[in-house]
Amino acid sequence: MRQFAIRIWKWIDDRLGIVELIGPAAKHLVPRDARWWYTFGSATLVAFVVQVVTGIALSFSYVSSASQAYQALQFISNDAPFGSFLRGMHYFGASAMVLMVGAHMAQTFLFGSYKFPREMNWITGVLLLGFTLAMGFTGQLLRWDQTATWSVVIAAEQAGRVPLIGNWLAQFILGGTTIGGATLSRFYAIHVFMIPALLFVFIALHLWLVLHHGIAEPPVAGKPVHPETYRQEYHKELQKTGVPFWPDGAWRDFIVGTILIIAIAFCALYFGPPVLGKPPDPSILQADPRPDWYLLWYFAVLALMPPSLEGYVMILGPVLVGILLLIVPMLNNQGERAPSRRPWAIAVVLLSVIMIGSLWIAGARSPWSPNFDPKPLTPAIIGATSGAVFEGARLFQEKSCLNCHLIDGHGGRRGPDLTYVGDRLTHDDIVIRIVNGGVNMPAFGRSLKPEELAKIVTFLESRKQKVSSTNPGAK
C-alpha cells in the first residue's frame, strides 16, 4: 500500500514538478544562529493566512449592500454556526498581523538587516505595512455599523484636505457626494480584492527577495557591511556553517505560528468579535466614532496637534513618514549592523514605541471629548440640598459645564478638574473665565443670565478641599 502511494506521489511530482519548485526554497541554507528573533516575519504571514481563510469564510454570508450588511453581520454574529468565532478570529487576526508586522519591522531595523543587499526587502516590507494598515481601516468600515459610516466621513474629510484634488478624493471615498448605496461596495471591493491582490503580489516579491539575498545573519559588533565583499563573505560563511531552512530553521516558525493561531483563537473565544454599534443610519447623531485600536494613536494626533499645523501634518505627515521609511536603506546601506554600535537605531525604535504608545493611551482616554452623559452630582458631593450652592450645581449640570469638567470624579475631562477650584481661583477669576472663556473653553457671557452666572460662581467657590473632606460622599 505504502509502495503504491509512493508511486502515485512520484507520478504526480513528475508531472507537476513540485519538489523541483519548492525543494530548493525549502532546503536553502540559512545562518545557523538565525533563531527566535527571526520568527516575526513568518508570524506575520501566518496572521495573513488566518485573515485570508476567515475572510473567505465570512464572505459566504456577508452582503456588501449598504442596506443589508448590518443585518448580515448580526446574522453572522448571533445566528450562524461559528460566525461569532470567525468574526473574532478575523478581528484578532488583523490585530496580530499589525503587531507582528510592527515587531518584524523593528527587529529588521535594529539588526540592520535592511542594509546592502537587502534594500528592496525593506522597501517591499514598508509597502506591506501600508497595505496591512489599509486593510485594517477598510475592514473596520465593512462592519458597517454607525462607527463605520462615520469613519468613512472622517476618511473623506481627511482626503478633502489634500490641496487641489481634495474634493475629488473625498467624493471617490464616499462613492458620491454623500454616504449611500455606493459607499460600502467600494470599500468591499478595496478590502476583498484590491488590497489583498497587492498583498499577495508583494508578499510573493518579499519572499522571493528573502530567498534571493538569503536571510541576514545576526549582526556582530565590529563586522560592518562592505557592499564590495559582503555577498562573497555571506555565501562563504553560509556554506561553512549554514543549515537548511527545512526543517532546521522552520521548526521555530511553526512553533511561533501555532502559538499565534492559538492566541488568536483564544482571544476570539474569550473576548469575542468587536461589538456591532448602532445601525449605519447617519441621522442618528448620538455617535462616538473611534477607530480600532491600531489607529487610535492617529485619532489622538488629530485631536492634539495645533490647529495651525493640522493641514500640513495631516497631509504631509503620512507622506513624509512613508517617504522616510522607504528611503531608510538609501540613507544608510552599509557599515555596522549591530544595535550596540548603532545607538541612534535603538533610540528611533524606542522613541517610536513611546510616541505611538503615549498617543494610543491618549486616544483610548480621549480626554478632549466632552462627556455627553456624565454622572449627575449627588447632594453629598454638592454639599447642599437647597440655596445658591445647590442651584449653582444644578445649573453647572444643566449648562453642560459638567460635560467638560470633573467634580469629584463626575463629569468630563476636556477642561480642568474643578473639584477644588475654590482653593485656587478667586471669585473674579472664575467670573472672567466663565464670561470670556479661555484657551480651550467657550465664552458663556452671551448664554448665561447674570443670576445664573452668580449661582454657578457660588457653587464653584464652594469647591474647596475642606468642604469636600467633610463630605462622606467625597474623596
Binding site: 462615520w150 466621513v153 474629510e157 467624493q171 471629548s369 466632552p370 460635560n403 458663556f444
Partner: protein, 160 residues
C-alpha cells in the same frame, strides 16, 4: 527594421490596445462618482408651526439622489432653528474638523463634537477645539406654510 524587432513592437502595441480596452471602462466605472452631481432639490422638513421659535432641533432628511439599495444610509440630519415667524437657520451636522456629528446642547447653547472636542456657538462660529471653520449653514426657506431645505453634499473642509 528587422522582422524580429517588428514583431516585438507589434506585440507591445497589441498589449497596449488590450490594456486600453480593459482599462478605460474600468477606470471610468470606478471614478464615475467623481462626476456625480450633488443632490439639488428643496426637501420639505415639515410645517412651519411644527417648529418653536428659538429652539434648535434635529430634523431627519432623505438624500434624494440615493441609490435604491442605500437603506438607512440614505438618511441624514440637519440642525434647524426657527429664529422668527418665517425665518429659519439650518446647520450641517458635520463638524468642520473631521466631519463627526455635532450635538446641540440646549443648556449651554453649544454644538459639541464627540470626536476631537470641537465646540461651536449657537451661530455656528467656532468656540473652541480644532475645527478650522464655522459650521456650514445650509439653505433653508419657508414657503406656503412649509419649511424646505436645499439638499447638498456632505460639506468637505478643503485647504485649497
Amino acid at each position: 527594421m528587422t522582422r524580429r524587432r517588428f514583431f516585438e513592437k507589434v506585440s507591445f502595441a497589441l498589449g497596449g490596445v488590450c490594456a486600453a480596452i480593459l482599462g478605460v471602462p474600468v477606470i471610468g466605472f470606478v471614478i464615475a462618482p467623481l462626476f456625480r452631481k450633488a443632490p439639488d432639490e428643496w426637501l420639505p422638513l415639515g410645517k412651519i408651526d411644527a417648529f418653536d421659535i428659538g429652539k434648535t432641533v434635529n430634523v431627519t432628511i432623505t438624500d434624494p439622489s440615493s441609490l435604491p439599495w442605500a437603506g438607512v444610509t440614505s438618511k441624514s440630519a440637519v440642525w434647524l432653528r426657527r429664529v422668527s415667524e418665517d425665518q429659519f437657520i439650518a446647520f450641517s451636522v458635520h463638524c468642520t474638523h473631521m466631519g463627526c456629528p455635532v450635538r446641540w446642547e440646549a443648556g449651554s447653547e453649544l454644538f459639541m463634537c464627540p470626536c476631537h472636542g470641537g465646540v461651536f456657538y449657537s451661530d455656528g462660529s467656532v468656540a473652541s477645539g480644532p475645527p478650522p471653520k464655522p459650521l456650514v449653514r445650509l439653505q433653508v426657506r419657508a414657503n406656503n406654510g412649509q419649511v424646505y431645505l436645499k439638499s447638498g453634499p456632505i460639506p468637505i473642509t478643503t485647504t485649497l
